[in-house]
Amino acid sequence: MTGSVHSALMPQAAAALTTYHATGIQDAAGLLLAFPLAGAAILLLGGKRTNSWGHYVGVAMPLLAFAYGVAAYVQMLGYPAAHRSRELTLYQFIDVGRFQVPLGLQLDQLSICFVLLITGVGSLIHIFAVGYMSHDPERRRFFGYMNLFLAAMLLLVLGNNYLALYAGWEGVGLASYLLIGFWQYKDSAAVAAKKAFIANRVGDVGLSLGIMLMFAQFGTVTFQGVFAAVPSASHGVVTAIGLLLLLGACGKSAQVPLQSWLLDAMEGPTPVSALIHAATMVTAGVYLIVRSAPIFDLTPDARLAVAIVGAVTLLFGAIIGCAKDDIKKALAGSTMSQIGYMMLAAGLGPAGYVFAIAHLLAHGFFKAGLFLGAGSIKHEMNEEVDMRRFGGLAKVMPITWVTFGLAYLAIIGIPPLSGFFTKDPIIDAAFAKGGTSGALLGTAALIGAGITGFYMTRVMLMTFHGERRWDDTVHPHEAPPVMTWPMIVLAIGSVFAGGLLIVDNRLLNFLGPVTGVPPTRHGLWTWSGIVALALVVVAFGIAYALYGRREIPVTAPAGSPVTVAARKDLYGDAINEGLLMRPGQWLTRLSVFFDNRGVDGLVNSLAAATGGSSGRLRKLQSGFVRSYALSMLVGGVLLVGALLLVRL
């Protein structure tokens, strides 16, 4: 009886899911990978011949994949909730004795959410990029990489085992490297690409070790096999796997302590930033945690670590976002912060998984909208990104202003836009966790919401309002339709996505079988939501007083120590340098010294000793037969003497 009473109050973990074979349209799920892969192949292998029409292929492939995704989604809706998880095998990926890894795809409620987000928002970004990259001679190569990015991300979310996920994971890392460093003739871009790649590798070590641990313990890497075996594993092993997966997620999702690459990743063309921040890449970490829900359900310690990482990052990113004058970097700080919310929610277990995904989907819309808006401004302002040189753009770029503004209202959580619906449940769930940790996490999320209101208002005011501060050399006007339409669609999504997902528990009912069901919420207005809204209003007031009423100096003022620290990414790079790079360099120097003096010294002196003694010994080979005879005689006598001595 007690169980049923509790079930209404306590979050429920997902029941073990049976997976069925895909039929009908879903049987061709390989097309989801094939479309963008074919696009990448045509554009990258086709070379300059495809220059004139390449971008059409680049746009068509994600659109086709999106159309297929919608068809598969419609078919899924036709099944009863417990029968929606479908899988199919593409081919045998690894076939070694008892170790079998089929490259299987899994279409279930969670992966279809990601498929629709990746292909849908991804397509819009591709369309935008047609206009944005129109003057770039390498536009074809750009679209090839973008399609590759989508293909890798789709493999990541569609794979039905951790190895396929890992392959997609690495593909995403490669594609992001290629795209961040797309303008590789710029030193900063090349360095940023390398930085992103290396920071991601650190996370990948965690993920690969986690997968190896799974294989060592359970002998399988498929989701079903691992999740079936996890309950019988020891608590230490499960926690270790959870923490290793968290390390992987930290790298890909730019969470503290592996956050440093995300801000530098702004060196890539703006559509890339939009793709990385909204549709692909940084959402992969959240996907990994939510997908591994059956593992994290069993280890509260690892879950708490996830939540703490999320809470720390959401404050970390928000503080950085407040100080950046580069519009893209301010938005990048905001992404870190929002992904922090998702990680926090994912760390709350079944109480938060659904809200993590809801916020992720809504974030996909408004963050893509914000980045495309920033891209459109950058495009019109001769690649200028310093907000101190913007100002008053609302009059000259009205469409960008409206779309950016709607996404802005969505991200700070003004009802009834998306952010309000998706962020508040996370704060609420954090407080509902109870205990000191729940109170701390919830407070962090609340403060984060306030800071979000501040820095986004700052971006808004510095960019679109006040006096114009740009030179006479730039003549900004509205971007062409190919760029504005995706922004308009994303703005509509930013407005409605959150409400559509959360009201009537739509996403919850849809995802429930995979992620578990959080406790029932009563109404949309909770006290935490009201406090968060009040904080946002106060933050808006402060930001307006600082940036709306006063004139903004073109050169940045010195600022308080906090501002200085935030401008330097809260010393993330300095910490990495001091904690990892310098000791690493000392270690290599020490190793080189030890190698030169120790190992080489030992080997070299041994060789010298052998050489020297043989040089002396060879003088015995005099060529005089009689001296040989003498040594033979002496030897014989000694031998006989020795034999006599031991009486043999």
Partner: protein, 100 residues
């Protein structure tokens, strides 16, 4: 009465004469003869012990030694003649090209 000790003493004397000859003489022919002397000293000891123990083993070994000595002389003298032809000298000290 000639005891085995006498034979052994003679054998030792012959062996030492041979060994000293090998070490001090330069002429290859003489060195050869000294080697033969040592071999025969060994033979004498074998045969003496064989008689002392009333066995045939030692005598058998003596035959083997003779065969080996004969073979050695054949090969050795052939080498010696060719060296003499090339260098016009039978001194073992002159044939010292193979050295460090």
């Amino acid at each position: 009465m000639v005891s085995p000790a006498h034979f052994i003493a003679l054998s030792v004397i012959l062996f030492v004469i041979g060994a000293v000859g090998v070490l001090v003489r330069r002429n290859a022919i003489v060195v050869f003869m000294c080697v033969e002397l040592m071999l025969n000293a060994a033979n004498l000891a074998f045969v003496a012990f064989a008689r002392m123990h009333n066995g045939l083993d030692g005598q058998l070994i003596a035959f083997f030694v003779m065969v080996v000595a004969a073979a050695e002389v054949v090969v050795g003298l052939a080498i010696l003649t060719s060296i003499f032809r090339a260098r016009r000298s039978a001194s073992v000290d002159d044939a010292n090209l193979m050295k460090y």
